[in-house]
Symmetry: C2
């Protein structure tokens, strides 16, 4: 029997975010889509899992008209929880052919890959042995314009559906905020870190508190071939990422 491919989608901006609906609408061309996303924003959750609270997975009916081939659910947990509980419940006997996460509102290039919930969900797909891709647009705005990158998303999905990915490797795809994209480059994560990471405030009782903020420091600014450098030149970047943390 020639069944349609099955694609699992998640993200970290929550099921209402614009980015993920661009992704689900596009992926309907390729197969049946099951989208299981956090019920609210879960940025910066890395591969966190929920250990101390029970999880619920809830069907969402709001998107049937535009997304007839998408089953929608939200979960009261992290992006990695979404992938795990989707595999355990709504997918159970249906193994996805592909996991796609995003499209993230904001860059997951360089060191951001470590903290990203969107990439956390892609890594989790990879732990399950399923070809997995995380997509991000370097624009944090809820109103970000995802249209320029969609042809590239389509091309990358086609390519992975056809050729698969090496075992233990998933893709971190980023697109610059730019209407005139320069093409695709396979590259590596730029060495970098965040500096001045907190804004400091004082509450009415005189006690300090801290909000995360910061600026990104590129530690190899003269290297033109990192994801950070290529994004600055208008390229869509693909970084192959491994789940094995062992340094060999």
């Amino acid at each position: 029997m020639n069944r349609r491919p099955l694609i699992l989608v998640s993200n970290d901006d929550g099921y209402r975010a614009r980015g993920v609906h661009h992704l689900t609408r596009l992926l309907q061309e390729f197969g049946d889509v099951v989208a299981v996303c956090p019920e609210g924003p879960q940025s910066g959750k890395s591969m966190a899992i929920t250990v101390y609270e029970p999880l619920r997975i809830t069907p969402v009916d709001d998107y049937r008209e535009d997304e007839p081939d998408v089953e929608w659910y939200h979960v009261n947990g992290t992006p990695t929880d979404c992938v795990k509980i989707a595999m355990h419940t709504v997918l159970r006997d249906r193994r996805p052919d592909l996991v796609c996460t995003g499209i993230n509102h904001g860059s997951n290039a360089s060191v951001n890959v470590l903290y990203s919930g969107t990439m956390g969900a892609a890594f989790e797909g990879c732990v399950f042995g399923i070809p997995s891709i995380g997509f991000s647009l370097c624009d944090h705005s809820p109103e970000a314009d995802f249209l320029p990158m969609l042809p590239y998303v389509r091309r990358i999905v086609e390519d992975v559906m056809e050729k698969g990915l090496p075992e233990g490797v998933c893709l971190n795809v980023n697109a610059p905020k730019c209407s005139d994209l320069a093409g695709i480059r396979h590259t590596v994560a730029c060495k970098g870190h965040w500096s001045d990471e907190y804004a400091e405030y004082t509450d009415p009782h005189g006690r300090p508190y801290y909000w995360m903020t910061g600026r990104f420091i590129n530690e190899e600014p003269d290297n033109p071939d990192t994801d950070d450098a290529l994004l600055a030149r208008g390229f869509v970047t693909i970084v192959p990422c491994q789940i094995d943390r062992t340094s060999k």
Copy 2:
């Protein structure tokens, strides 16, 4: 001026956990210790950071008698938050010579390294370019017996203080639950995954909910040289872990 080394400690079981106090008491031998831990349990937080809530860092006076050379703080965030906010606030102009995390109540071998908050904090130390070590005991009990592994902790700390670590690499150290340890082995993370990850319940309104549980599946059971296999044979395992996720 010959100053004492400065060591930053964090964990994911919270500042009251026994494991971290075994670590801080031992590390006083080596230098001045600043311990900045979550105010409650934060297991499974990976490298999650707190983006949507403000953080507070609060001095703790409870441990002065036994730990005279330890400055104690707790933070309302994740283990990675603890390292970041420690660097930003109480350490600001004092750069630690070493970051040690744990001692975790429970294994962080194999695929657990991906989800571990204790290893998340060690990876964050590594992002800051500081030699960093995460320690774990394969015993989840709050009453776990950490004494057998302490001589090994001491030996590994001495070794890293003397020789440092390669750039971008930190150590994931695990000890089996065993009073008669067989020695130390440098090794690699076992390929594996978790199966049957949720226990299913129904609430009084007839709606299902799910608690994380599961059993570990070793995907290379015939390989005697993985961390999982060596722990089963009574060895303390050291896996060098890299922060760079790029597959090369």
